[in-house]
């Protein structure tokens, strides 16, 4: 039986892009919180 797979572009579109975007906005949010934490 023939095996099928996603092309490279499909990998990027289907999961690499949303994963990278998620990491980016979460890190931005964490950095923002750290930056704004008042000094003790």
């Amino acid at each position: 039986m023939q095996e099928y797979g996603l092309t490279l572009g499909a990998h990027l579109l289907l999961w690499a892009f949303p994963l990278a975007l998620t990491v980016l906005v979460v890190v931005e949010s964490l950095l923002d919180n750290t930056w704004r934490e008042p000094r003790k």
Binding site: Q2, L14, P18, L21, T22, V25
Partner: protein, 540 residues
């Protein structure tokens, strides 16, 4: 879809009734906290991160995300997913560039609507900008409201088992009555809270259903094998497109995101956010909602293609999968999610249309209802009247209105998105440039779309010159007769007409017809704003 069995239908209908009951309860709670005009139009600038974030995204997506986006991947496979990066890039610009600046500027100005932001930013002594912006918003929003009510009516009638023309009418009336009641009583706050509830329902549905469907298939590998066996093109990012058609498709899909900063029902949420801290929290919440919903919808379409290969209409894949795979109570919740996606947009657009009439026209242009209490009453009555007109248009299925809807997203996006970005980030644009940008945005959108259709219908192609000329002369005439136009405004109108005709020639001569109209219209409008401002010389 096949007709539902009576016991399934009864369960689904019970879930629907409960869902509508929750909307009414939220509307009643919000009404008790709504005491004046700013409360009604902007929730007294008191929204927290969750309400602002989810309501801004839920109201922007409409039934498109649970129907159209699902249909895209059902039909085209992975290549149908290009809308997701397009929309998410639009979210990035909106949330990280527009939201923080717009909240600040609107608070400083005391502005209540998008039109208000633009007119106070550049000054509008003769109400030229306000009348132009309000007209564009009202036409687009009324068309949208009627089209969404039609979709809601169809979804309700099929969910509640109401058949025939009578079932459709009842479906439209039930959906519209609940939304009009909730919006007119609770105003912006009710719309934002019901959007939050409905947005979370949509997200939950688009997480749970694809995961369950893929697990039923035997995992992600089985999904890929199933798609490949149907057609190997379903597994590639370009599908079966090649060359200019592929690039036109990809750029067009990415270009969808250009419209987001120009959507009044979306960006007013940012104006209503409580403070900068809530804006920052909102950014993460809204982005995550977008990722979950867009990719969830895409996966539903892919799974649906394998599980239900015989389904004639891919846009029905979510509803068909729900009824095929899960218990009727859960299916009812999933169908409620489909209707939620529609109604959350209807309520937001209804409120924007009503605010355009009651606030921008009656209060600001005609100088009526200065008292806060009267402003609230006026807002409520306007929502009711605008909603009833929407019901009338939806029931009569006025063709002209649905023709306008084809232009609504790109028209609004091109008319307002470049202007909002320029208003928030750049000096050197004035009110005459702003007028030129709005007219150019709408003009190029219409010309490009007609130009694209012209390949099949040369008759329309031949009329674009005349449509543009007549529209420009009519606008100049109205401006002249009402003594509203300055000379610089006339330059703006002529520039908009010229760019519109040039765009139409471009789409014809250079074979750019595969490019989505919002892309050229957006950049043409920005160009018009900058050039007309430079020519007319008055800087802000």
């Amino acid at each position: 879809m096949t007709p539902l069995e009576p016991n399934v239908l009864a369960t689904v209908a019970a879930v629907m009734v409960a869902y509508l009951g929750i909307l009414l309860f939220i509307g009643w709670r919000a009404a008790r906290r709504t005491h004046g005009g700013e409360d009604f139009h902007l929730a007294g600038r008191s929204l927290g991160a969750w309400a602002a974030g989810i309501s801004s995204t839920a109201s922007s997506e409409s039934g498109w995300v649970t129907l159209g986006a699902v249909g895209m991947t059902f039909t085209y496979g992975v290549s149908g997913l290009w809308y997701a990066p397009g929309c998410l890039l639009g979210y990035l610009v909106n949330l990280y560039v527009v939201a923080p600046r717009l909240r600040k500027i609107s608070e400083t100005q005391g502005s209540v609507t998008l039109t208000d932001v633009l007119t106070r930013r550049w000054g509008d002594p003769r109400n030229v900008l306000r009348v132009t912006a309000t007209t564009i918003i009202l036409v687009c929003m009324m068309g949208y409201v009627a089209a969404q009510l039609t979709a809601a009516g169809k979804a309700f009638s099929s969910s509640l088992g109401l058949e025939g023309r009578g079932g459709y009418v009842l479906g439209v009336v039930i959906g519209a009555a609940v939304i009009i009641l909730v919006t007119s009583l609770g105003g912006f706050r009710a719309v934002a809270w019901t959007d939050l509830f409905q947005g979370l329902l949509v997200a939950a549905a688009l997480i749970a259903l694809p995961l369950y469907a893929i697990s039923r298939l035997g995992g992600f590998g089985a999904l890929i094998q199933g798609l490949g066996a149907i057609d190997p093109h379903l597994l590639s990012a370009g599908g079966d497109r090649v060359g200019p058609a592929l690039w036109g498709f990809v750029i067009g899909q990415l270009g969808i995101g250009l419209g987001y900063p120009g959507m009044p029902h979306v960006i007013t949420r940012y104006m209503a956010t409580r403070n900068d801290r809530e804006v920052q929290r909102m950014q993460l919440i809204a982005m995550m909602w977008g990722v979950v919903v867009f990719y969830g919808a895409g996966l539903v379409g892919l799974a649906g293609r394998v599980i239900l290969p015989g389904l004639a209409d891919g846009e029905q894949a979510l509803m068909a999968l729900a009824l095929e795979l899960v218990h009727p109570v859960l299916a009812g919740l999933l169908l409620a999610a489909v209707i939620s996606a529609i109604l959350s947009t209807v309520s937001s657009q209804l409120l924007v249309a009503a605010s355009a009439v009651s606030y921008d026209v009656v209060e600001e242009t005609l100088g009526g209802a200065r008292d806060d209490r009267r402003s609230l009453i006026l807002g409520r009555w306007t929502v009711a009247v605008v909603g009833l007109i929407g019901i009338g248009v939806a029931l009569m299925e006025v063709r002209l209105v649905f023709w306008f809807v084809l232009f609504a997203w790109s028209g609004l996006g091109a008319a307002f998105a470049p202007l909002i970005l320029l208003a928030l980030s750049r000096r050197g644009v004035n009110r005459h440039g702003a007028l030129a940008a709005m007219l150019t945005g709408v003009g190029v959108t219409v010309a490009w779309k007609l130009g694209r259709d012209a390949a099949e219908s040369p008759e329309i192609f031949a009329r674009v010159w005349w449509i543009t000329l007549i529209a420009a002369v009519a606008i100049l005439l109205v401006g002249h007769l009402t003594h509203a136009f300055e000379n610089a405004d006339r330059i703006g109108v002529v520039a908009a007409a010229t760019i519109t005709v040039l765009a139409w020639l471009l789409v014809q001569r250079w074979g750019l017809d595969s490019l989505y109209e919002l892309v050229p219209a957006f950049f043409s409008a920005g160009f018009a704003a900058i050039v007309v401002s430079a020519v007319t010389g008055e800087r802000d």
